[in-house]
């Protein structure tokens, strides 16, 4: 579903992402983790067509994002950490707008279901300014999921959600994966990653330092001391990368 080859993004001479390659199959949830400035957001922005990569190719459901961006973008949704909404459109108007953009014929049914699922049914006529941070996040999610994307990117999906919202979000992500979506989650919350992700990609200074299932990368960084959790793997992977560079 998501195939990335030799993805490179340069800002002037600064290398934000360096020769990154990976694949996410249908039903897989891949975590994109790394320290601040590792290139996670740049990678997600390249993968969603917001910024063009300097080199490399990205294929979404078989469509090359560079060659056929319209077909590729129809299949994906990008949910940023900060809900990005139009101040002057109500909840209902947001959904009508997104439906026209993605040409979702019977969107009312899907919208009703999503609004109910995300506890927004009573806020149909509310403007974003009248919603709490968590509610705005839910509206952004509803807009992102309205066209039933087969590829979904989440950037820090739990930011601003209450405990109930967090549980619902985790369930929702896993449900989408079970339904066949390929999902990438960028997050600093390693316990979330351990809980819901099937695969992990650790980035450091734009480079891939580890990639595989949790078991695979744990094994890769295992020591004689015994079992390791993801936090220890993360620190070992990122510090080894630093030492390697030095």
């Amino acid at each position: 579903m998501i195939q990335v080859e030799a993805l490179t993004k340069l800002y002037g001479e600064f290398v934000a992402v360096n020769e990154l390659g990976f694949e996410v199959k249908s039903g897989e949830v891949m975590a994109l983790v790394g320290p601040n400035g590792a290139g996670k957001t740049t990678t997600l922005r390249c993968l969603s067509g917001i910024i063009p990569p300097t080199r490399g190719s990205i294929r979404i459901c078989g469509h090359d994002l560079g060659q056929d961006p319209i077909a590729a973008k129809r299949e994906l949704a990008f949910l940023s950490d900060e809900p990005r909404l139009f101040d002057y459109l109500t909840v209902e108007q947001h959904l009508a707008f997104v439906a026209r953009i993605y040409q979702v014929k019977d969107y009312e049914l899907v919208a009703d279901q999503l609004l109910g699922e995300l506890e927004l049914a009573g806020k149909r006529n509310a403007l974003p300014g009248e919603l709490s941070r968590g509610m705005k996040q839910k509206l952004a999610i509803a807009c992102g999921l309205l066209h039933a994307p087969r590829v979904i990117y989440f950037d820090e999906p739990l930011t601003g959600l209450d405990p109930m919202g967090i549980r619902r979000m985790k369930d929702s992500i896993l449900k989408r994966a079970r339904d066949g979506a390929a999902i990438i989650i960028s997050s600093h919350l390693l316990h979330l990653v351990e809980e819901i992700c099937s695969h992990i990609l650790i980035l450091k200074d734009g480079r891939k330092v580890a990639h595989g299932t949790l078991a695979e990368i744990t094994q890769q960084f295992a020591t004689q001391a015994g079992e390791m959790n993801l936090e220890e793997v993360f620190f070992r992977a990122t510090s080894e990368a630093r030492e390697g560079q030095q």
Binding site: R45, G49, I51, D87, R100, Q103, L127
Partner: protein, 581 residues
């Protein structure tokens, strides 16, 4: 303790100034700084070095004969400001601090009085700058510049202290259970009572003022002078006149005479403010939060959010889920623009315009009222073509902060560009068609008599045809500028301070005019060619619409190319550049 606050103030100003100087290394600030500097030199400083040739300074220097009149007028203006400050506000006193100042200073062991002093010291930066600017604007640099500068400083410092003191007094009244309306009624009663006394005195002591005298400026001036300088008014305005007097002093000696009472008044205000022990902290925290939200919104490019919260608006039409996606952007931006641009409203306005035009035409008979109204409508139309794009910004300029979201949409870049331009273009065209109906209707008789009604109707038709395409082109210019120079655009939009920001805005305006003229030239040339050719063959009535169609086609091609170019620019637009300095 105050030394720490002075340290903060000193280093804040110093670092801000250094930052501004350092950023001149970037071409956009350097060029803006040069253009802004030239502008300021030309407008304000040139007079110092160049001897004026017969030009008159706009200095409000009072001659002895009219000094009392100017003094009273100044006092009246000050009185109006003070009355507004006492009547309108309804909230508790709040000193504006930044969020950082609230975080650091409010929990610190600093007394309320020291915080007030800090606020007063900080406000002096703005007061000094305002005094300098107003001295320059009122042309005071050549004669008695220091008197004007000091006069403005006294005026604004006293006003600042009074506003602060009145807000403290208001809070004290609220704490004692006196509501805002009780306070307002009491002040208004006092105002009406005083005005009544003045009116009674005027009626008893002065000859009545006839409405016919209104046309004679000298008569009005003399009458105002008598009212303001005789009877109870000079006494009622006396304290306020003391504040204004130093500015109006004609020489150094007069200034020194006026300075003493004005300084005494300033010190009394200072004593009043400093002695007020009013709890302003809670309201200040709230005010600083709102201020921080506005600043954050502007820095993020969300100028709209910084202005006022949007209201819920009805959809202009029902958006079906299937159809050209660009219409979704038109729909969205029309909602943003407001209900004023719904089809129903515009049809009603055009019908209204037709009725009014015909009605005025019948009623005015031989008078020139129709021509005057028609000329106003024509001028408004031309004005809206040139500057309408600055008022209707429901396009990329509004959506740039959400450019990353727009880029994820499965739309071709030209579709996005077209969709973004449609709403302001439609709104502008509707306004101009509305005005055009007025122009055609109001000049109908005169133009028909001169050109023939067919030719006049043809001109109206031609203008109606060209207007929307022209709007589409004019809208592309600021949109392209915003995409090409996003940092400049953000700077200009957020009303960035400094000479360089003024220069950037001037460059933008000039660039827009140049591109507009260049875009118009081919269409104007073709219009002229077709017009003269067809006029020779078929006559004027046919020539105008045909030439207009030809010009509209050229403009439409230009508009289409422009939309493609704008789409290409958006595709290349770096979302991270939008808010970068």
């Amino acid at each position: 303790m105050i030394s720490a606050l002075l340290y903060l103030q000193y280093h804040s100003i110093k670092n801000r100034t250094l930052m501004r100087i350092k950023r001149l290394k970037q071409p956009k600030y350097l060029v803006g700084g040069i253009v802004g500097g030239l502008y300021f030199y030309w407008c304000f400083f040139r007079a110092i070095f160049v001897t004026p040739r017969g030009g008159r300074s706009i200095t409000l220097l009072a001659s002895p004969s009219n000094a009392a009149l100017y003094e009273s007028i100044g006092a009246l203006v000050l009185l109006t400001i003070l009355l507004v400050a006492w009547i309108i506000p309804n909230s508790r006193a709040a000193l504006t601090f930044t969020e950082a100042e609230v975080t650091f200073l409010f929990p610190a062991p600093i007394s309320r009085r020291v915080l007030i002093h800090f606020k007063l010291v900080r406000s002096q930066t703005a007061i000094l700058m305002t005094a300098l600017l107003l001295t320059l604007v009122t042309g005071g640099l050549r004669s008695n510049a220091w008197i004007h500068a000091a006069g403005w400083w006294l005026f604004f410092s006293t006003l600042n202290l009074h506003l602060l003191g009145s807000s403290f007094a208001r809070t004290k009244l609220m704490d004692r259970g006196i509501t805002n309306w009780q306070r307002r009624l009491a002040i208004l009663a006092l105002v009406f009572l005083t005005a009544g006394v003045v009116i009674i005195w005027t009626r008893q002591s002065m000859p009545p003022f006839e409405p016919s005298q209104m046309q004679d400026f000298a008569a009005v001036r003399n009458y105002a002078q008598q009212v303001l300088t005789a009877g109870p008014v000079p006494y009622l305005l006396y304290p306020l006149r003391l504040v204004v007097r130093p500015y109006l002093a004609s020489n150094a000696m007069a200034f020194l005479y006026a300075l003493g009472p004005a300084l005494l008044l300033l010190l009394l205000h200072y004593w009043w403010v400093v002695r007020s022990n009013v709890a302003f902290e809670e309201a200040s925290v709230e005010a600083s939060r709102k201020r921080a939200e506005k600043v954050a919104a502007v820095r993020a490019g969300n100028w709209r959010a910084a202005q006022k919260p949007p209201r819920r608006k009805r959809s202009p039409f029902k958006l079906r889920p299937v159809g050209p996606p660009a219409f979704a952007l038109l729909w969205k931006n029309l909602i943003s623009a407001g209900q004023a641009y719904s089809l129903r409203v515009w049809v009603s306005l055009i019908v209204f315009a037709v009725c009014i035009s015909l009605g005025v035409g019948q009623a005015a008979g031989g008078s020139s009222a129709r021509e005057v109204l028609g000329s106003i409508a024509a001028m408004l139309m031309a004005w809206s073509l040139l500057v309408g794009t600055q008022f209707l910004r429901q396009d990329f300029r509004q959506d740039l902060p959400l450019a990353d979201i727009l880029k994820t949409y499965p739309l071709r870049s030209w579709q996005l560009a077209l969709g973004e331009l449609l709403a302001p273009a439609a709104a502008l065209a509707a306004i101009q068609w509305f005005l055009l109906v007025f122009v055609v209707g109001l000049f109908w008789q005169a133009a028909s008599a001169r050109l023939g009604w067919q030719s006049w109707l043809g001109m109206g038709f031609g203008a109606a045809l060209i207007i929307p395409v022209l709007d589409l082109i004019t809208l592309q210019i600021p949109n392209a500028a915003a995409l090409l120079f996003p940092a400049w655009f953000q700077e200009a939009k957020s009303g960035g301070a400094g000479i360089e920001a003024t220069g950037q805005r001037l460059i933008f305006m000039l660039g827009q005019m140049v591109v507009f003229v260049v875009a118009l030239t081919p269409a104007a040339a073709l219009f002229a060619g077709v017009f003269f050719l067809v006029k020779m063959l078929l006559g004027m009535a046919t020539a105008i619409p045909l030439a207009s169609i030809a010009a509209a086609i050229v403009l439409a091609v230009e508009a289409a190319l422009g939309v493609m170019l704008l789409g290409w620019l958006f595709e290349r637009y770096d979302v991270s550049a939008g808010t970068s300095g």
